[in-house]
């Protein structure tokens, strides 16, 4: 086909752009969770906001929706990926310098600005910490704008904790109240054992003046929201990030629907009252 004909057809929204892997970092011992720092090979990409996601593409294998886990000042984007499916397992083998495809950013963002002047409660379950990490970065960059900041993080076991160095740094800096719990402890684990809702129940924030962001498995988000509301956090100031199958991220493929909502287009970040009816219905 001639270049003119291609031009007349217009931009193909499913065409990935080539990005280079600048750095690969193992987050857990076996490398099942890893973090990529990516930069576009050419041109400038739209800046992602905390909570948004990109479609990451591997030539010949396929595409997956992955939230941004950090946004660098120079336009680089960071993604933290758990190798659980065919595409993410193949991605696990890539090294620094290799080229992957990116489409995005897509979706709604965490309402960081709305938390200014308020206490902020972040509740993360497992890999759900990754989409919340850019919020922590944004808050720490303008710490004085926010009230008390709690990060309640639950993982399966101490081995599954991600962003270990940063967790240690946040603990040391004492600019936020970091609470970590695991489902199953190990001999050398001295921290909490139990579900993340217990960390919320412990309080330490002014619920009536707080804003909360929750990301993790659906059951964890639902019960975290209940704990938050018991502590006085208004449902409309509680936000959750949903996960559904996303093939196009453009509202065309139909897979990510929850009731009237396309998670790719109307989410992934939703105010809790918008998702609450869906949480009540099995298999919606």
């Amino acid at each position: 086909m001639s270049a003119l004909a291609a031009e007349l057809q217009g931009h193909e929204p499913m065409a990935p752009e080539p990005w280079r892997i600048l750095a690969v970092r193992r987050e857990v011992a076996d490398g099942e969770v890893f973090t990529w720092t990516l930069e576009p090979l050419s041109g400038r990409a739209a800046t992602a906001r905390p909570g948004q996601f990109n479609m990451l593409y591997l030539f010949g294998v396929g595409e997956v929706a992955i939230s941004v886990s950090a946004i660098e000042d120079d336009g680089a984007v960071v993604h933290t990926i758990r190798a659980v499916g065919s595409v993410t397992r193949a991605m696990q083998g890539l090294r620094t310098g290799e080229v992957v495809g990116v489409r995005g950013p897509f979706g709604t963002a965490w309402p960081v600005a709305d938390a200014k002047g308020r206490d902020l409660v972040l509740a993360a379950g497992g890999i759900g910490l990754a989409p919340l990490r850019p919020v922590v970065h944004a808050v720490l960059a303008r710490r004085q704008d926010f009230g008390r900041v709690l990060l309640c993080y639950g993982a399966r076991s101490p081995r599954d904790l991600i962003f270990r160095d940063e967790l240690d740094e946040w603990q040391v800096r004492r600019e936020l109240d970091l609470r970590v719990t695991v489902d199953r402890g190990t001999a050398d684990w001295k921290g909490d054992v139990g579900v993340v809702t217990q960390l919320i129940d412990r309080g330490g924030f002014d619920g009536r003046n707080a804003l909360a962001m929750v990301c993790g498995p659906e059951v964890m988000m639902r019960f975290s929201a209940l704990s938050l509301h018991r502590r006085g956090v208004a449902p409309e100031r509680t936000f959750v990030s949903m996960e559904r199958s996303m093939r196009c991220a453009l509202g065309f493929c139909g897979h990510c629907q929850i009731g009237p909502h396309f998670v790719c287009r109307d989410g992934p970040v939703f105010p809790y009252p918008v998702m609450e009816p869906a949480f009540r219905v099995n298999e919606l």
Binding site: M1, L8, G101, R247, G251, G254
Partner: protein, 371 residues
């Protein structure tokens, strides 16, 4: 009122063909009316009608020379605008490890659709809102949709599973076409009333040398338009959106799921269903990988699959997703119902599940004033 003779269809096909259109329309194949290339009016299903019921479809001889004497077949124009399978983009691997992208397919031909039913015009408008009405335009759909020439044919004899009157989409088209025809067979008379809906349609009509209708022809045509709505086999409750929105836990879902085969026939014949999967198809050399879009269905297990398993494991949950999306949540998403009342999902359901009957049954239990 302008009329043309049935034989003018031959000229219409040739004129559009000469103008560079690929002319497609109804033809008989393997016992069904399907849409395919038309070489001339002889390819039309002359004298053929069709009987529709729950899980029932049969062609029959009408005993006349009607060109458009059928209702609708299993195909819809969706197969041209949003084909069952298409390569959206080709990814070309470069020697340095990077890649570039190229168009997936050659530009589609400009097509003329002959015999578009009013419900199908409505279905095209619904898919236009899905693919062209959101923040990002679906390039592939747009490339096929732009420049399509639409020759609508109003319904004189709606079928047993039709309910377009209750959906407000037919049986007569009031816009969205280039040319609309109404076929009238009245005693010995057989003619087509032609209305232009665009400048291009008007110009084409003039080339067909239409004449003014006689008083008798006018009366006969008006009788067709007047009587067709009453020939609908079915009707949909006007409050389907509200009924379904409040019935997500209704026991009927389980009851219907016991009959439903989750075969996806309904979504395949539906002219508005748009779910699609994206498949990665690398060549054997690993140099080119195609991103192929193909029709998917919310009745397939993988449709809702995420790591950990599908969200909708049961047929009841999948049937509920289909029906509530089509008739209820579609309004919030795209500003209209996703159903146009064509009746295909009833006709082509192997166990005869009837979308109008399901809504009526659920509505009867949950109150509200249905028509």
């Amino acid at each position: 009122m302008r009329v043309i003779a049935p034989q003018a269809m031959e000229k219409l096909v040739h004129l559009l063909s000469d103008d560079g259109y690929e002319v497609v329309g109804p033809t008989v194949r393997e016992g069904a009316i399907v849409y395919d290339r038309l070489g001339g009016m002889d390819d039309l299903p002359i004298g053929r009608g069709d009987d529709h019921g729950q899980g029932h479809y049969r062609l029959r001889d009408r005993g006349d020379k009607a060109l458009f004497g059928y209702v609708v077949g299993p195909h819809s124009w969706k197969k041209y605008l949003f084909p069952p399978r298409e390569t959206l983009v080709r990814v070309l691997r470069r020697d340095d490890g990077g890649f570039e992208t190229a168009p997936g397919e050659a530009p589609p031909p400009r097509r003329a659709f002959i015999g578009v039913r009013p419900c199908e015009l409505a279905a095209i408008a619904v898919q236009d809102r899905v693919f062209l009405g959101q923040a990002v335009r679906d390039r592939a759909y747009g490339a096929r949709r732009d420049g399509v020439f639409l020759v609508a044919v109003n319904c004189a004899e709606p079928g047993g599973t039709c309910f377009c009157t209750s959906m407000g989409t037919g049986p007569r088209a009031h816009g969205g076409f280039d040319l609309a025809l109404t076929e009238v067979i009245d005693g010995d008379g057989h003619f087509l009333v032609a209305e232009a809906g665009s400048e291009a349609g008007g110009r084409l009509l003039e080339r067909l040398a239409p004449r003014e209708a006689t008083e008798a022809e006018r009366t006969a045509a008006e009788r067709v338009w007047r009587e067709a709505p009453a020939r609908m086999g079915r009707s949909m409750r006007g409050d389907a959106r509200e009924v379904l929105a409040r019935s997500l836990e209704h026991p009927r879902w389980e009851e219907t799921a016991a009959r439903c085969l989750s075969c996806a026939n309904c979504t395949l014949v539906c002219p508005t269903c748009f779910c699609a999967q994206i498949e990665e198809r690398p060549d054997l050399e690993g140099k080119v990988s195609e991103r192929v879009r193909s029709w998917d269905s919310c009745f397939n297990g993988e449709h809702s699959y995420v790591i950990g398993g599908p969200h909708r494991t049961t047929v009841a949950a999948r049937y509920r997703q289909w029906l509530t999306h089509k008739l209820s949540t579609w309004h919030a998403q795209f500003g209209s119902s996703g159903c146009v009342g064509c009746g295909r999902c009833i006709t082509w359901c192997p166990v005869g599940i009837d979308i109008t009957e399901e809504v009526a049954a659920i509505g009867a239990d949950t109150g509200g004033s249905g028509p």
